[in-house]
């Protein structure tokens, strides 16, 4: 039998992959529930403003991508921070990734459960989606990263389906007024935090640098990828506001999917089935990337960086995730406060990480380079 080599590196992926990676990692579960958090039409400026801030953040990350440390992968990080600190980071990362995978999966599974398989036991759905992700991840980091192309082409076209919502009869452009916030509440702040957190996907690219080319032109692709996300976010958001109006919007749990249900053609009626199914590629990609990161983080803090990757290792990290998701589902996700708490934790964590990681990497690289 062949041995499993998950983290081998045979070639580097170019700028286009970078672009797609940035874009796809930002389009996960959060985008589907985002309109509920934003509600007011003027929050579209929040998307734009935080998107531009995220641009800045990506430029900082770019410094890291192009530094000489990044190319050396794990060794580079150790050089920067020292072995102890990296281990501590890995433990944190381990937990954070675990939480993120769990919440993404639970969110998607809930949607599947709601719309397609209401009578099915959720655990089966969790099992299936994780199994597919395991299958993708078992092909190694390189192929998983390449999977982003499939995820992109299976996911990006969905946006086109929402274009009809911009035109009457349901759309009334006066629904978008007022364009500037006339009152500001705690909910609005939370909305902004939510957007920032939704943008946080590319943080995980930090650990994939060895597979990505690190020439100087990377920044251009990062920026375009992020721009694409801003456009996608704001188009979807404006479409939902036009479709529901602000007051009805915050009563809906999956606004984007419900809109998908509204699309109807004479041949096919339940377009949402197709949309949800295609969206799965994105989740599978997201989960498998995170699964590999999770395994990697586990190896770091168990000090097994020099050992070979094993099937047992990958499988056991997969099991840890599966068990954690099932436990979370059982104890927290099924109750409203529990679900809210999990989402809030994820929002805060995502936001904090997206703030800290690029800044820390940027300053450390800068300092080391000047030394």
């Amino acid at each position: 039998m062949k041995t499993l080599s998950l983290f081998n590196q045979t070639f580097t992926l170019g700028g286009i992959h970078f672009l797609l990676l940035v874009n796809r990692t930002q389009m996960h579960y959060f985008i589907l529930i985002m309109p509920v958090y934003l509600v007011h039409s003027y929050m579209v400026w929040g998307i734009v403003a935080l998107g531009l801030l995220s641009q800045l953040n990506l430029m900082m990350l770019c410094k890291w991508f192009t530094s000489s440390y990044a190319k050396r992968g794990y060794q580079g990080i150790v050089q920067l921070f020292g072995k102890r600190t990296v281990q501590v980071f890995a433990i944190f990362g381990f937990l954070i990734i675990l939480l993120k995978i769990s919440i993404i999966t639970l969110g998607y599974v809930e949607m599947l459960h709601n719309f397609i398989y209401p009578s099915m036991n959720k655990k089966w759905l969790i099992f299936f989606i994780l199994s597919i992700s395991l299958f993708v991840a078992s092909h190694g980091m390189e192929k998983t990263l390449r999977f982003v192309v499939i995820a992109f082409f299976c996911g990006a076209w969905i946006l086109i389906m929402f274009i009809p919502f911009f035109f009457p009869p349901i759309a009334n452009y006066r629904d978008l007024y007022p364009l500037i916030p006339t009152e500001w509440s705690g909910q609005s702040w939370q909305g902004l935090l939510f957007i920032w957190s939704a943008f946080s996907g590319p943080v995980y690219l930090v650990f994939m640098v060895p597979w990505l080319s690190s020439n100087q032109k990377i920044s251009k692709y990062l920026v375009i990828g992020n721009m694409l996300t801003i456009i996608e976010y704001s188009l979807l958001f404006i479409a939902t506001v036009l479709f529901y109006g602000s007051n009805f919007l915050n009563k809906i749990n999956f606004p984007v999917v419900y809109m998908g249900r509204y699309i109807q053609t004479s041949g096919l009626e339940r377009i949402d089935y197709i949309l949800i199914s295609f969206h799965m590629f994105n989740y599978v990609f997201d989960i498998s990337i995170l699964l590999l990161c999770f395994y990697g983080a586990g190896r770091v803090f168990m000090k097994k960086m020099n050992a070979r990757t094993t099937r047992i290792g990958l499988l056991s990290s997969w099991f840890v995730i599966l068990i954690s998701i099932i436990i979370m589902d059982q104890w927290l996700w099924q109750t409203v406060p529990g679900q809210k708490m999990l989402l809030n934790i994820q929002i805060w964590l995502g936001a904090i990480i997206y703030l800290l990681v690029p800044t820390i990497l940027f300053t450390v690289v800068k300092r080391k380079e000047s030394m």
Partner: protein, 364 residues
């Protein structure tokens, strides 16, 4: 020994087998065992109950049956139908929700609609109708006369919904809910009249706080179609002036004064004269001009009357309130708007441009 590359296949087969045994799919649908329903009709029953009814099975060569039950809850009704019929009723094809006018006047139809709306099996494009009279009797009577009456009814609504044909107000449950929740809009629903032999369109019902408050009929409904719903009418018949205008397209301009004390409504109508039974010689220019002026005055009067009755009842289905929204200022609350709306001065101005179908003699 199984070859190595067949492991995957084996895994899939055994997985399917396992899945088959423990069956994560609880609901099994055999096509022979299900009966999709096309409509629910909801009426007031005794002691605060609902009387709901439907027709099964649609579009199958089998004698149709009319089912009716008195229940406390809508979904309970669906369940009870299952228990008295040999197939399982499926609501995936539900297309129409007919609500009795008595119930609509009482209010609380939001809850009924919400029940339908949150069910992912049911499309959000379920048409909403208010029925005056006894729909059950009509459909029971039609059972013997015409097959698939339920389906034809749906086709009729679909026909008028698509491309804004401009005869009826057609509303689906999503549109209703969106309007209901928007502070500056009020929902509308078409009203139909049913008796033993007929089921015909009456007009448009205006809702306020989830209650039917008024129904426009005949001319005022036609004006409503021009003002808001479709901005198009195939035929605008004005019996009082013995004239029918055809293919009328309207162009509406609303202008609110800055203190919301007056509204000027300008309606541009374009169409053609398709019928004239009056005394005037409309082949010459002057009487024609005169007639057009008469039409303008007549429509202006009718429109003002319609708007006044809306103001009296404080309902705003024309979404006039949304004109108060501005990009850079705070939106009015519902109460504020209704206060303004109730006391607003309204100037209606019609501008009609019509073509006679025959040549008009020119004055030389």
């Amino acid at each position: 020994m199984i070859p190595y590359k067949h492991y995957g296949l084996l895994a899939i087969v055994s997985l399917m087998w396992i899945v088959g045994c423990s069956s994560p799919y609880v609901e099994n649908n055999m096509i022979e065992e299900i009966a999709p329903v096309v409509f629910w009709s909801i009426d007031k029953g005794t002691e605060g109950k609902f009387k709901i009814s439907t027709l099964v099975p649609p579009l199958i060569k089998e004698k149709k049956r009319f089912l009716s039950k008195e229940v406390d809850l809508l979904k309970q009704g669906g369940k009870e139908f299952n228990l008295i019929y040999y197939r399982e009723l499926k609501q995936g094809q539900l297309r129409m929700l007919l609500i009795n006018e008595e119930l609509a006047k009482e209010g609380g139809i939001e809850k009924l609609i919400n029940t339908i709306l949150v069910d992912p099996d049911i499309s959000m494009r379920v048409y909403l109708l208010i029925v005056r009279g006894d729909f059950d009797e009509y459909i029971k009577n039609q059972l013997t006369k015409q097959e698939n009456q339920d389906y034809f009814l749906y086709r009729m609504l679909k026909h008028y919904e698509e491309h804004n044909q401009g005869e009826m107000s057609i509303v689906n449950i999503h549109q209703f809910m969106k309007m209901l929740y928007s502070p500056l809009k009020d929902p509308i629903v078409p009203v139909f009249h049913a008796d033993k032999n007929n089921f015909n369109y009456v007009g448009t019902a205006f809702f306020r706080n989830d209650k039917e408050v008024m129904v426009t009929q005949d001319v005022s409904d036609e004006i409503f179609q021009l003002l808001d719903n479709d901005h198009f009418l195939k035929v605008l018949a004005i019996p009082k002036l013995s004239i029918s205008l055809g293919r009328v397209r309207s162009n509406i301009r609303m202008k609110l004064s800055s203190d919301y004390s007056s509204l000027s409504l300008h309606v541009g109508l374009k169409g053609r004269i398709e019928e004239y039974q009056g005394e005037k010689n409309i082949q010459s220019e002057e009487p024609l001009e005169h007639l057009i002026h008469e039409i303008e005055v007549y429509l202006e009067e009718q429109t003002s009357e319609l708007l006044k009755s809306m103001q009296r009842l404080k309902v705003d289905p024309l979404e006039v309130g949304t004109h108060s929204l501005k990009p850079f200022s705070k939106e009015l609350t519902e109460e504020q708007w209704l206060k303004y709306w109730g006391n607003m001065k309204i100037n209606v101005d019609f501008d009609i441009k019509i073509q006679p179908l025959i040549n008009v003699e020119r004055l030389s």
